[in-house]
Symmetry: D2
Subunit: 135 residues, 4 copies
């Protein structure tokens, strides 16, 4: 499991006094960016090269408990599946010792500029498989 720790800031909240739901997806993506970095895989280089992209094809989340300004949030990120052209990540969010939510994201490799599905970059696929089997 890759662990990412962050905090609910004012801009994450809304007038209901809670973490705005779409911002939970954003925080999970921050964890994903840190996870890629930990695998030695740099998203900014991939974008700069401009040959492939890794768009999200599906995302879902459950929200079990409301999060508030100042809450320390722990995101555990695991690799659920690594396929030929895509991979699935699973996040478990907790705060104050309670599980507060889950999220799943499916990432697909596409060739630019057209966007046709392509095989995952070999180094990324291998790193994800290692991360997956390490759990």
């Amino acid at each position: 499991m890759f662990i990412y720790e962050t905090m609910v800031r004012l801009h994450d909240t809304d007038a209901a006094g809670r973490l705005y739901f779409a911002n939970q997806f954003r925080l999970v993506h921050e964890a994903y960016e840190a996870f890629l970095h930990s695998l030695g895989y740099d998203l900014s280089e991939v974008l700069a090269r401009g040959r492939i992209a890794l768009p999200i094809a599906h995302a879902s989340a459950d929200f079990h408990r409301p999060l508030q300004l100042g809450d320390a949030l722990r995101i555990e990120l695991g690799v659920e599946r690594v396929g030929r052209t895509s991979f699935t990540l699973r996040a478990r969010l907790s705060a104050g010792g309670h599980v507060v939510g889950h999220a799943t994201t499916v990432h697909v490799a596409v060739r630019l500029p057209r966007g046709a599905k392509t095989t995952l970059p070999a180094r990324l696929g291998a790193a994800l498989k290692r991360a997956s089997s390490a759990e």
Copy 2:
């Protein structure tokens, strides 16, 4: 079907040159706020009264095609289910005549400040049922 039309703005995009995935959820929520307003139901009044809230308990989305800066986006919002304490909305997003994504959100009525599930406000439940059967 309730129709909400908007446009992809610079702040919606990211360095990959596309609509950032969590912002699709945000745009769907904008459509939901406009939909509630069209039902004569004012989210700001509900929040101001502070007795109930309607948090999202589950959200999922599919992303079929990338959206870019300036794309005109059409969101069709329908009521999929109205229960005693919750309701489910289904959004279909299209741009340039193509379906570009779908989203589903489950909204639950809770009593504040504790957050226990409660029955949907009667007027809202009735309005959602009318909207549901009108489809």
Copy 3:
């Protein structure tokens, strides 16, 4: 004066129950994008061509009154100055008949990929001058 009308949505607000200050800048930029569009100048085409960019070099804002969820916001955008390599816009924000804020943004033309200052695209400069003198 170019007029842009929008509304304060849930994601614009924060746990203080108000429009989060940085989101006022975002809404002013939405008005700017619509203004460029009204001048026949398409930001997405400029970005796609990748030869020049128009980054913001300075931004300032005053916040006179708090804005809340559901407030209808009117943004009047005027051209304050058009120089050789930059231009300055001035926004006046009002809601419910009251002025609620002001913002000023300075936009500079730069040549990509290096980012050296360059003269404003001729068509844009001319359109901004026309908009400026029309006030």
Copy 4:
């Protein structure tokens, strides 16, 4: 000087491949929240009590160099002025050893729910003065 370190994430960027300008204000506010916390002053408690708020009355920023995805950002926050009802903070942003921007924010104490100016909470005013003279 209070130091806050963060990183430019994908959601901070836009289709121009740079940090979106309003997000620089957001990152400066994150630094401010961490600064208040370091002074033993908890914004979420202040909001929960609901007696005073500290809205931003003025904000300005200069953007010297573009920031990109993955850039490590260092924000140095200093107290520029502490008055009876307001205080001014000054932020210097740097990345890769270069100053990339500055920001100034003026925060005013107001009594809720009306929003009339009021004296700064004594403990906060004293802590800000100590932080100010320590520079």
